[in-house]
Symmetry: C2
Subunit: 213 residues, 2 copies
DNA sequence: TCCCACATACCGACTGGTTAGTCTGCCTGT
DNA sequence: ACAGGCAGACTAACCAGTCGGTATGTGGGA
């Protein structure tokens, strides 16, 4: 066994996915994770074999199981990366010193840009969530809920202060917006007519317009 | 071989998924498809084995492969059912004799209700699209595009006549709304606080508000 | 300085289990 | 007697994870 249970659990909270906890990702581990991310996004988690990943990364199974406890750990790492990034950015924009409609617009637009910039991760995130084991699934759901609630708080703040329409549940508005974010992986193409920033501005604009009292 | 290539292709256009083309679904075939739909939605396509499906339906593999050419055919049948249903309903509302904002509102709300009423099918639809073979994938994409374009035409009509804001690409608005529809499978719960109709009214309202000039 | 003990990094053959799909044949109604 | 409907054992392929082994590097004692 390369990692015992305790170490695997601990890994989930570290930054680099190697479980060494010192922030310095070993090149091989980094390459394996990057390769897995690409293949998972292209073919789906279940359709990507461990053999394919190690072949594409130019190593063997020995290397993969040296750095990761299981195939699922790779998936969990992708999730952790996305969640931490998005939460950090949301907190940044939500805590800013600006009117609530500006903070919401900035946060809403930023999540779109960030999602497009990491489209592979996001495709995996939304498609393969239900492939996680109950334990890891619970953890990911908890982090997602935290994100959702922070976003909802922004909307409720605007509703209380009268700058947003209050006759609609804030929860529903959050899901409305994140539906469109979620959906980006299905339709957005890099070679399409719109830049990520343009898409973000349009989608944030739609959200703010829908919330006009 | 139960079905040769030609028959499998023909099946895609029939109504009952048994390939007999006479509209009378054999009970066993119907039960297999219903069981598969439920299991695919619960566990995902790849995680559901053919053995599980036939066990849950109370038959054996012999029966399944008597009625369906492959496991993928089951998936394709689910897709066909959903696509035909949604297209039919969209055409109905879009062709109605009413102002464009009313037609759009009705169509937008109806797709939400229909989606919630067939949540299993929709979950499968959005999660497992990329599991289809290239040939069937192409066919499904073509039908989806037809749907998308009909919906977009409604928005463009309103933009031309000045009742909708014209400073946003209609394509993007369609994806915005369908993002939220797509997302329903992730968050909507039957035992939640909102009825399908309430959700539909809210989401249609958000769309129409966002389109106010 | 040399050398030994030990750890880390990785290899690749192997195992036990699972899977989609096939095939032979029985059974029943016409 | 013939055909459709179905059973269930079988096969060939595949897959995640294991394990014994090798190579490389590193710290400490003589």
């Amino acid at each position: 066994m390369t990692y015992d249970e305790g170490q695997v659990r601990a890994m989930a909270g570290t930054k680099d996915g190697t479980g060494n906890g010192n922030g310095s990702t070993k090149p091989v581990a980094r390459r394996l994770l990057a390769t897995a991310t690409r293949l998972f996004a292209e073919q789906g988690y279940d359709r990507t074999s461990v053999q394919e990943i190690v072949d594409a990364a130019g190593v063997t199974k020995g290397a993969l199981y040296h750095y990761f406890g299981s195939k699922e750990d790779l998936l969990h790492e992708v999730y952790g990366r996305v969640l931490r990034l998005q939460q950090e950015r949301l907190d940044h924009f939500a805590d800013a010193d600006a009117p609530v409609e500006q903070r919401l617009r900035d946060a809403a637009a930023d999540v779109v840009v960030t999602t497009i910039d990491n489209l592979d991760d996001t495709k995996i995130f939304f498609r393969s969530m239900h492939h996680l084991s109950p334990e890891k699934d619970k953890q990911v759901r908890a982090e997602r809920r935290r994100y959702h609630e922070r976003f909802r708080a922004l909307i409720e703040e605007g509703q209380r202060s009268g700058v947003f329409a209050a006759d609609i549940p804030a929860d529903l508005v959050v899901d409305y917006h994140f539906g469109s974010v979620h959906h980006l992986g299905t339709w957005y193409r890099e070679d399409g007519p719109l830049t990520p920033q343009q898409v973000a501005d349009h989608l944030a604009d739609l959200l703010l317009r829908a919330l006009r009292p």
